[in-house]
């Protein structure tokens, strides 16, 4: 991947972050440094993986706020991968991310660059989600454990067996908090075949394409919002100014509501967006407009830059767009894990995207 593609990936991943995590500036700086040192990342098409290739599935777990102080470190990202290879006795042929949305999009590139293995063009969410079991592998019944975790002090822990996906998330989350709310993780290795059959393919290419579209639009002084919509077959739901944001922390997640008062063609209307780390449900003037797992992206109306649930605030001028969720997420099995009911809403999934409900 060229350095320029990495820049695009960062922007695209920010949009796909649906409010959880923000533009991955720190991760991008790390990658620029690796590239300057002659350590680029390589991308591999899932189709090119051998059936029995061993793929590392990586992600940082923790609070986005903490990465702003504790600056992601590629060497740290590598530890759980090495742990897992030792634990299973199988070296890795490739690496992929659990989550294309936000900072985790760049993580496999750091691992790949340092280990000299390619990054698989795929992920397990197609966006960002708050919990570890909200992944395509889990939806398809593949276990998350063994699950390796390491912190910056080189404390190392493996959840060898877990009673369920949820238990892996629960124990992992507890340890993560104890270690300072930032740990590098590597979940159960997947074979090339399992990736092809159970991951969301092409995620990185998609994010690069999306980021490139935004950058091109900015350069030509055209609307980056329109570029996002075109690149992803998205829907423009609303444009307005943030009038109010109410947040509270419960059970380790940032939950809340953002209210947006419309302008231009939406003048006189009001958009209400619930969030639980990521934006989850949106209403326009009281009517349901969009819900998980469809992506709800709040972007700066002028620059197209993604706005996070921790940084959205009064007065910001924003556009709300929705991108369609991967069909795997909107299947019955998928909705059980990432649909509105999994987020505590007694709602049946309905989508504004044609062909999605």
């Amino acid at each position: 991947m060229t350095a320029d593609e990495v820049e695009s990936l960062a922007i695209g991943a920010g949009v796909l972050g649906t409010g959880g995590g923000t533009h991955p500036y720190v991760e991008l700086l790390n990658l620029r440094k690796l590239y300057r040192q002659g350590k680029p990342a390589r991308l591999i098409d899932p189709a090119a993986l051998a059936d029995d290739a061993t793929v590392a599935v990586v992600g940082f777990m923790g609070a986005p706020l903490v990465t702003k102080e504790r600056l992601t470190d590629p060497a740290h990202a590598l530890r759980p991968v090495t742990m897992m290879a030792d634990h299973t006795g199988r070296p890795f042929d490739a690496v992929m991310t659990i989550e294309i949305g936000g900072e985790n999009s760049l993580l496999p590139l750091m691992v790949g660059a340092l280990m000299g293995i390619p990054v698989v063009d795929a992920d397990t969410m197609g966006r960002a989600f708050p919990e570890a079991q909200m992944s395509s592998f889990a939806i398809r019944g593949l276990p998350l454990a063994p699950f390796a975790m390491a912190d910056i002090r080189d404390n190392r822990l493996i959840i060898d067996r877990a009673a369920s996906q949820l238990w892996t998330e629960r124990i992992g989350r507890g340890v993560c908090t104890e270690m300072g709310s930032i740990v590098a993780t590597c979940s159960a290795p997947r074979t090339g075949r399992e990736v092809r059959e159970n991951a969301l393919l092409g995620s990185i290419g998609k994010a690069i394409h999306l980021g490139q579209a935004v950058r091109d639009a900015r350069q030509r002084h055209e609307s980056p919002i329109r570029a996002v919509l075109a690149a992803e077959r998205g829907l423009h739901l609303f444009t307005g100014k943030v009038a109010d944001v109410a947040r509270r922390t419960t059970q380790g997640f940032v939950r809340g509501v953002a209210i947006i008062d419309g302008f231009d063609e939406h003048a006189g209307s009001r958009f209400s967006a619930d969030f639980q780390n990521e934006f989850t449900i949106g209403w326009i003037d009281g009517d349901l407009a969009v819900m998980v797992p469809d992506l709800i992206c709040v972007l700066d109306a002028v620059s197209g830059e993604a706005i996070g649930t921790e940084t959205i605030r009064y007065g910001q001028r924003v556009a709300v767009v929705s991108l369609p969720a991967d069909p795997l997420l909107t299947s019955d099995e998928g909705l059980a894990i990432v649909g509105p009911k999994a987020f505590g809403y007694d709602l049946d999934y309905v989508s504004p995207h044609p062909g999605s409900s």
């Binding site: 609070a63 706020l65 903490v66 380790g252 780390n277 007065g315």
Partner: protein
């Protein structure tokens, strides 16, 4: 109370004298290269214009872009040492990593990364390496570096390691200038460290500049307290401001907005400040500019200062007008307006020329624009008005009509009426709104910290107490302090009851 407000801009230095609650006089003089002379000239000018007795002036407030310019131009900066207390964390991205190369080369004197820093829950990552700090201090001294910025992970939560490091440093390097990052607030290690390093590389310049201001004031026969205006529209005692030059980076636009509020007696309005090259549009709330929470680049360096939320348009008195088709800007004559504009004998059609042709202002030689076609003027003004109106609409935060205050040298470009605007106010002395803003400024104290295991009310009370003390230290009259802003944000994933609280208090100068 007699106060003189001086705003040192890129082109002009404006000065006003405010006495009890009225503007006694205002002047504009060209900004000079020699700062002391410029201030002295401004003081002389305003005293002459008002006939006031120098000894009767109680306070002088100065706002200047001097420090921002120094960073932008890479001039007058000192070599610094960056100490980061973070290991084993935060190691892969060293200090100065994303600085423009030329600025980094100018300023980077030494980097020391040490074990220590805190977790988000307030516990140390690992114990602080005090021996390492001592060795670092000796190395810094050996290199002849006398300015040091110290940044520790999560120091806005607990300053303990930064303070200890500062103590050790001062033991080894007696005359060192130190900035501790926690004084600059904000979670965000790189941005806070950048602000810290920028601050300390400006230390010497700040010291000499403030001394020069002080001298100029004394030389002019005044016995007045000197205050320096801050990014948020308040002022700080010069002594305190000297330690934090970064806090005065953006005071220009803020002063304009504060001045507009004062001159119009409105505290909630949109302010349109039309200058020579740009128009800045901001929103006043409770008499203060609404602030943006974005990344702000100073000289190409990424920081997280809270700056006024401004929309900037490439539109000003000197903006060049195209005839066929009719275009407005973005290029401008800038400070060359006085030579290049048609009414000044030049050959460039500018917005000022249009205004003279339309009779909006009387400036230069009106005959030089007598033959501009009405169709051209109509089209041009339609374009200008539409641009301004659209920008105002974007700045509004609710439906309904809002008041607009037009200030700045090019305020004549703002139309008298617009949709969604209740009224457009022009104020006397609007051209020197920035100096007015400086003169009437109050003193503030601010806190932006994470509190743990306190109830929301207790955390806010504690934050308020700290903010009030800071305001008093900066020169505020304790009894006059008022709560201007409170914001609280519960934090994701954090153990215990972690609440990030921002409090700002403002009071009169003591």
């Amino acid at each position: 109370m007699k106060r003189i407000g001086i705003d040192v801009g890129g082109t002009n230095t404006d000065a006003v004298l405010v006495e009890d609650d009225a503007i006694a006089g205002a002047i504009k003089t060209p900004t000079t290269a020699d700062v002391t002379a410029g201030i002295a000239a401004a003081l002389k000018g305003i005293l002459d214009a008002t006939g006031a007795d120098p000894a009767s002036v109680d306070a002088v407030m100065i706002g200047t872009t001097h420090f921002t310019n120094a960073v932008a131009q890479r001039k007058g900066l000192t070599r610094v040492a960056a100490v980061r207390i973070c290991l084993p964390a935060s190691a892969s991205l060293e200090p100065f990593i994303d600085w423009p190369a030329d600025l980094r080369d100018e300023v980077n004197g030494a980097i020391h990364m040490l074990e220590g820093g805190h977790e988000v829950d307030g516990r140390p990552i690992v114990p602080f390496d005090e021996d390492g700090m001592r060795r670092a201090a000796r190395d810094i001294r050996a290199r002849g570096i006398a300015s040091v910025g110290i940044t520790s992970v999560f120091s806005p939560l607990t300053a303990e390691f930064e303070e200890r490091a500062g103590d050790i440093l001062r033991e080894e390097c007696p005359d060192v200038a130190v900035t501790l990052s926690h004084a600059l607030g904000r979670i965000g290690l790189l941005e806070r460290e950048n602000a810290t390093l920028l601050n300390v590389c400006l230390h010497d310049l700040a010291r000499t500049t403030i001394d020069a201001f002080t001298r100029a004031i004394a030389d002019s026969g005044l016995d007045a307290q000197l205050y320096i205006t801050q990014n948020d529209g308040t002022v700080m005692l010069a002594e305190v401001a000297a330690a934090y030059p970064v806090f005065s980076f953006a005071s220009g636009p803020t002063n304009s907005m504060r001045g507009a509020a004062y001159l119009s007696r409105r505290s909630d309005a949109i302010v349109v400040d039309v200058g020579g090259t740009t128009t800045d549009i901001g929103m006043l709330r409770n008499g203060f500019p609404r602030e943006a929470n974005n990344v702000v680049e100073i000289g190409g360096v990424r920081t997280l200062f809270r700056m006024p939320d401004l929309m900037s348009l490439a539109l000003g008195g000197g903006t060049l007008v195209g005839r066929e088709p009719v275009t407005i800007g973005p290029e401008s004559t800038g400070y060359e307006l006085m030579t290049r504009g048609l009414v000044f004998g030049g050959d460039a059609l500018t917005c000022t020329d249009l205004a003279v042709a339309r009779g909006l202002i009387d400036l230069g030689d009106g005959d030089a624009v007598g033959d501009l076609a009405p169709a051209l003027l109509d089209a041009a003004f339609a374009h200008i008005h539409a641009t301004i109106a659209a920008a105002i609409d974007h700045m509004k935060t609710e439906a309904g009509e809002i008041t607009v205050i037009a200030v700045g040298g090019g305020a004549f470009l703002v139309p008298p009426a617009m949709d969604g605007v209740a009224e457009v106010i022009r104020v006397p002395h609007g051209a020197v709104a920035n100096a007015v803003g400086a003169a009437i400024a109050q003193v503030s104290g601010e806190v932006d910290r994470i509190f743990q295991d306190l109830s929301r009310d207790d955390a806010i009370d504690e934050a308020r107490r700290i903010a009030e003390q800071r305001a008093i230290d900066a020169g505020a009259e304790g009894a006059s302090l008022e709560l201007v802003e409170v914001e609280d944000l519960p934090l994701a994933y954090l153990p215990g009851n972690s609440l990030r609280v921002r409090v700002r208090v403002v009071g009169d100068i003591a």
